[in-house]
């Protein structure tokens, strides 16, 4: 319905002001037409009932209304097709002309109908131009004056002043209205421009993001390692297709599942469960630990993800990468078995060499002179050293193969120190070093542990300390760290370890670089074995060192009293 009226009322022109004026004019024309039609009907009905239809006045009135009707239609056409300005002017003139004959001259110039001339004044500034109000104030004043003079009455100057006052007000308000509208349009235009610019920028940035996200997804999809992204509550939010073949389970059984579901999965080897459990309970970020998954061995690495856009650098989840390690694990196992066999086979002949050398030393086949005995002792010492190295290799191989186990039983810490002294006192005194030891009063007399492995740890650390100390002492202390932990401290006054080397001293086959390697023998397995043994006992080993003043190893172990 609105559209129907709009098609009559609206005039499509480029200038929005012109369009607005022409629409207002059309509305006025419509109103006027309706009034005229109603007037025509009223005259016909009224004069017909009072038999005045044939009177000349009635005829003139009816003629007037018809002329007005055609005038209005003509003006509508002009407004619609040609010029709003001319149409408005013609309409206002027509209106003024009609008003001039709507009442008696005295009522129009001085009476009840005087106000009627204010209408063209007010309307003209709206539909013609703002200044047009003055034109129609003048015309109205002229008509009022002429009518007054035609019936010999005084001209109503107050009315004329009123007309001009109204013209002034109309002019001012129409002008402000037009200015306000212009400004509004300018603001709108700016706003439109800004919205458009922003839309463009947003679209461009969304496009970029989509391309970026697509690229990231493509990278993730093409990685051969299985990747799962977990949120803070350990729910899987994302996974790449490689995880499917890695874990042999469909993607939908990974995404939206909790990490705990994975831990409880039947394919996960029982002994790997604890490792994964510890990871989520203690929020650790292990790198490259092995788990058994069905027939496979997988290497698992976890990294926490931080939102670095926010200042507080909040942890938003964890990315876990699974790598198929089956082949490598097999090779490692083969290697370890090989080393174990070789070590075992090496030990038997070495035992024979050792035994024969001892027989020389003990003069089993007749008296020996001092030099011969001395030589036998050297053979024995070197054989012992070789055996020590082979034992280290064997331990390392067993640990790598996961075969080395810890046997926990009640033990006396004091006995650990006794056997240490029994073994190494002579080695220390040969280098003119003091080997001292003490036990914390708080430490229980009996506690649970693997005495053989603790002995091995102590021997390794103290042998090392003696090896790298030229003067002073090697101090061993067994202490109670806190309610749940006990510890071993081995401190020397030796040459110390350079700070750059500290992070690597527990690595397998590593000795601090340089002359040291040549002066002191050994594979560099001792500290690596210490660390692995301590870890197997759920403990921790730390090192502090100062060049030329000494090194201190501190081992912390869980305290269990039998």
């Amino acid at each position: 319905m609105n559209k129907f009226f709009d098609s009559f009322l609206n005039v499509s022109v480029p200038d929005p002001d012109d369009a607005r004026r022409r629409r207002v004019l059309n509305i006025l024309l419509l109103g006027t037409l309706l009034a005229t039609v109603v007037g025509f009907v009223a005259i016909v009905v009224g004069s017909a009932t009072s038999n005045e239809l044939n009177l000349p006045e009635t005829q003139i009135l009816l003629g007037g209304t018809l002329v007005t009707t055609f005038g209005i239609l003509g003006i509508y056409q002009i407004n619609k097709r040609w010029s709003g300005r001319w149409a408005a002017l013609l309409y206002l003139l027509l209106l003024t002309l009609i008003f001039t004959f709507t009442d008696s001259p005295d009522q129009l110039s001085n009476g009840r109908s005087l106000f009627i001339f204010t209408l063209p004044i007010a309307i003209s500034s709206l539909i013609l131009i703002p200044e047009a109000s003055f034109l129609f104030a003048t015309i109205g004043s002229g008509i009022v004056a002429w009518l007054a003079l035609s019936i010999d009455q005084p001209v109503n100057f107050f009315a004329i002043i009123g007309f001009f006052m109204l013209a002034l007000v109309s002019w001012l308000s129409a002008r402000s209205l037009e200015t306000a509208l212009k400004e509004l349009r300018a603001i709108n235009t700016n706003l439109d421009q800004e919205v458009m610019d922003r839309t463009h920028a947003l679209t461009a940035s969304l496009d970029r993001e989509r391309i970026e996200a697509g690229r990231n997804q493509a990278i993730l999809n093409s990685i051969a390692d299985g990747v799962i992204v977990f949120d803070k509550k350990w729910n899987a939010t994302m996974a790449n297709p490689a995880i499917k073949s890695m874990l042999d389970i469909p993607l939908e059984l990974v995404i939206n599942k909790n990490f705990r579901d994975l831990i409880e999965h039947p394919r996960l080897a029982a002994q790997s469960r604890g490792l994964l459990q510890a990871m989520i309970e203690h929020d650790t970020q292990p790198v490259g630990f092995r788990i058994g998954w069905g027939e496979k061995t997988l290497s698992v690495s976890a990294a926490q993800v931080y939102d670095n856009r926010k200042e507080n650098n909040k942890n938003i989840g964890t990315v876990i990468v699974f790598r198929d390690f089956t082949r490598e694990a097999e090779v490692e196992k083969l290697k370890s078995t090989f080393v174990a066999i070789v070590s075992h086979e090496l030990r038997t002949p070495l035992n024979a060499i050792l035994g024969y050398a001892e027989m020389f030393k003990e003069a089993v086949y007749g008296p020996m002179n001092e030099k011969q005995v001395n030589m036998a002792v050297r053979i024995m010492k070197n054989t012992q050293r070789l055996l020590g190295l082979i034992n280290d290799l064997l331990d390392q191989a067993q640990m790598e193969a996961g075969k080395l186990t810890i046997h926990i039983a009640p033990l006396k810490p004091a006995e650990l120190l006794e056997s240490l002294h029994g073994l190494l006192d002579k080695t220390a005194s040969d280098k003119r070093l003091r080997l001292t030891s003490e036990i914390d009063d708080d430490l229980p007399e009996i506690l649970n542990g693997d005495s053989a492995r603790l002995h091995q740890i102590l021997v390794n650390l103290v042998t090392n300390a003696i090896k790298f100390t030229d003067q002073g002492e090697v101090r061993v202390k067994l202490l109670r760290s806190d309610d749940a932990k006990w510890g071993i401290e081995v401190e020397d006054t030796g040459q110390g370890i350079p700070e750059v080397d500290l992070p690597y001293i527990f690595d397998t086959f590593r000795q601090v670089e340089g002359a040291t390697t040549r002066v002191h023998g050994g594979f560099g397995l001792g500290l690596s074995i210490v660390k692995q043994l301590v870890n197997l006992m759920s403990g921790d080993v730390k090192v502090e060192s100062k060049i030329n003043s000494g090194t201190k190893f501190t081992i912390t172990l869980p305290l269990v009293i039998p």
């Binding site: 075992h344 038997t348 050792l354 027989m359 003990e362 053989a452």
Partner: protein, 120 residues
Amino acid sequence: MSELALIIEDDEDLASIFAEALRGIDYEVEHVADGKLAQERLKSGTAPFIILLDMHLPHISGGDLLTTIKQDERFENTIVIITTADARMGDMYRDQADFVMIKPISFVQLRDLTARLKPK
């Protein structure tokens, strides 16, 4: 009279060293290098005073021989010393043997131990 020591050991050199250690302190030494032969030997003949028993042997393992020894009351008073390079194996049979010696076994160590065991 010398006490009899039976050495069951497949490595000739080790057997020879053990034998020397024992002979040095007046043991009469008998050596068997194979599990099957050892089994045969245990069925008859004099019950040894000491048996040195290696765990890794051809044909019949030291563990099986140990079971045979423990089941035969002729060996009630025989001292069994397990000699092995495998510490875990040693742990496993510790309860059934009188002594466990982990290789490398020192000549002096074996000599001193067996000397102490000799009846005065």
